[in-house]
Amino acid sequence: MQLTDYIRKRREKKNILLMTHLVLGYPSFEVNRQVIRQMVENGVDLIELQIPFSEPMADGPMILKANQESIEAGTTVKDCLEFAAEVTAAYDIPFLFMTYYNILFKYGVEDFFKKAVAIGIKGFIVPDLPPEEGAGFLQLAGKYEIAPILIYAPTSTDERMRELAGHARGFIYCVARRGVTGKQTDFDKDFNLYMSRCRQATNLPLAVGFGISNKEDVDFLTGQADIAVIGTRTIRLIDEHGAAAVGPFIAGLK
């Protein structure tokens, strides 16, 4: 798959890649634009674009608020798709869509894939769509060559991990801990064990997200994971210090 290849190639040069996340339309598309520019200029390797949904069940308070305010400000799925087309055209790194299944479902799942292909999106992260419910989705992902990013959790058994690996493409998103986005994670012995279980279950690259917020976290992950995912941290940073703070922050992670 092209996404996996990209990650592997990039990893030849870097010990760990960075994936960042933002909620489209929050606080505005203009700020999104500035933030993405700074991310790319400071060496981010992949960017997750979250299309806001009114019921972001798996997200914590920070991203929940971003979802809601974006929708309240009038962000539509169409706006998100247009913006995504703009940034994929402007920057040469992979962009992924993260959203909840209802957004695809209401759009029409196949139409959504077609559109994503047209825009140049490389993968989808849909946290409320387990493979049991995603047969059609996975099939279309294959057909349209968009990586369906599946999720491992610390609660996943080895067997479950292997099963998920059979459906996943691109990379595996390893949730660092129980819970929702936006809380601190303890990177301890249990975590190391979890990561080695992940490794054993799949050959795909591993991204680790949930609670990664500083250079120490990233350093800790280096060697265990292929991608460190920075989510809530940048949203908070922008809320507090504006878009301009993102560049230096990203630069400081390496």
Partner: protein
């Protein structure tokens, strides 16, 4: 890939991966309980000693005479311990929690009845308990909040989204994805991911099993129609299941018409035209949502009906034509409540009053040798602030004003 947990095109289990094992365990526990006849026995025993089952079926003679058509029977879920049918589901899940060995329960609540029932069950079973409740509902149902807290539960007001039931469900899931090891999520209605719809429907089926026997005993034959209000759909499913195979019994679900279907301010998912198929809160059903799939604000005077989704089982029955759906406006609800209090000395919850509205509209169409059953899902005591406000009761207002002043100087 399995179609387990589907009802026709509806249902499923759209859950975050982190809950995969939790659901596996829950499914297993539930399947075992269903297969174990002593479980149902234990459940019935609990409901007849801790709550008041079987609840009576009351013949409403005055209302029947008033409308001059079919005999009106009322299934009295209000007489359950904690005042609503919610107790049935909660006590059943409590027994499951015992079997699973978990130590804590969480729940969402709209009207607060499910929260009170869960807090009650937690007290009885010695479990820790956290209840998520939309901030708007906290205001509407303050007495219930007070009782939950007094029974030892923590009530968390949910300030996100529309601050009502759906947001409380989201928050409960957010709790559960971190706490699942020792915590069970007591879903309050026949919604959410499989196995919840099936499980809650199973526990609530006790209503219909009783009602069918009672109407045959009391009236000599089956009713022509059965009416139930539909929030998530648990009380409706509860009573409908008793008559599902009786093809001549018409089943009528009544949704919240709020300020009217044309106003956009309602919660009619199946009776209106504002909903469409969607996937949220872990399951697929007809949601009140916009073209992008964003959930819409809903409105009802009844906190327990103010919900964007509806049971996938009911959506299937609606699609197949087995259940007819209607809606009742806030105004109609107050009038039906008033009439029921004055004619029968019975105070239905605002939710339940929706079922009364539709039954009243149609009672006159039935022959006098026909009967209808209204499922009275709960009692109206909890709604005193809303009802007194809606009736604009001057002495109540004066009372509250004085109490408020007393507390102002504290």
């Amino acid at each position: 890939m399995t179609t387990k947990g589907y009802y026709g095109n509806w249902g499923g289990a759209f859950i975050p991966e982190v809950l995969h094992e939790t659901f596996k365990q829950l499914n297993l526990a539930f399947e075992q309980a269903k297969g174990d006849p002593t479980f149902w026995q234990e459940y019935k025993e609990l409901m007849s000693t801790y709550s008041c089952r079987p609840t009576p079926l009351t013949c409403a003679d005055n209302l029947s005479d008033h409308f001059g058509g079919g005999r009106i029977y009322i299934k009295r879920e209000d007489l359950n311990h904690t005042g609503a049918h919610k107790a049935n589901n909660v006590m059943g899940q409590g027994l499951l929690v015992k079997r699973m060995g978990k130590k804590r329960v969480i729940a969402e609540t709209g009207a607060g009845q499910h929260g009170v029932a869960t807090a009650t069950m937690a007290a009885k079973f010695g479990l820790a308990c956290t209840i998520y409740m939309g901030e708007e509902d906290v205001m509407r149902q303050r007495p219930n909040v007070f009782w939950m807290e007094k029974m030892g539960a923590t009530v968390v007001p949910v300030t996100s989204g529309s601050k009502t039931l759906k947001d409380a469900i989201n928050e409960a899931f957010r709790d559960w994805v971190s706490s699942m090891d020792d915590t069970h999520y007591v879903m309050g209605t026949v919604c959410g991911p499989h196995p919840f719809p099936e499980m809650v429907a199973w526990f609530q089926s006790i209503i219909g099993l009783e009602a069918r026997k009672q109407i045959i005993n009391g009236f000599g034959k089956l009713p022509a129609r059965v009416y139930a209000c539909v929030g998530g759909g648990s009380n409706a499913m509860g009573i409908f299941q008793g008559f599902m195979d009786d093809k001549d019994v018409e089943l009528v679900g009544v949704e919240a018409g709020g300020h009217g279907l044309e106003s956009g301010e309602h919660a009619a998912r199946l009776a209106g035209i504002d909903s469409s198929a969607g996937v949220a809160q872990g399951y697929k059903t007809m949601f009140l949502q916009n073209d992008d799939g964003q959930m819409r604000d809903t409105h009802s005077v009844a906190a327990g009906l103010d919900y964007v989704g509806v049971s996938p089982i009911l959506t299937d029955l609606w699609e197949k034509g087995r259940v007819r759906f209607e809606s009742a406006t806030d105004k109609e609800v107050m009038a039906a409540l008033d009439l029921t209090m004055k004619k029968e000395g019975i105070i239905p919850a605002l939710e339940s009053s929706h079922a009364f509205v539709q039954a009243f509209k149609e009672a006159g169409d039935l022959a006098t040798d026909q009967a209808l059953i209204i499922n009275m899902s709960g009692r109206g005591d909890k709604d005193i602030f809303t009802i007194a406000h809606a009736f604009n009761d001057p002495s109540w207002k004066e009372f509250i004003r004085k109490k408020g002043e007393e507390y102002a100087t504290d």
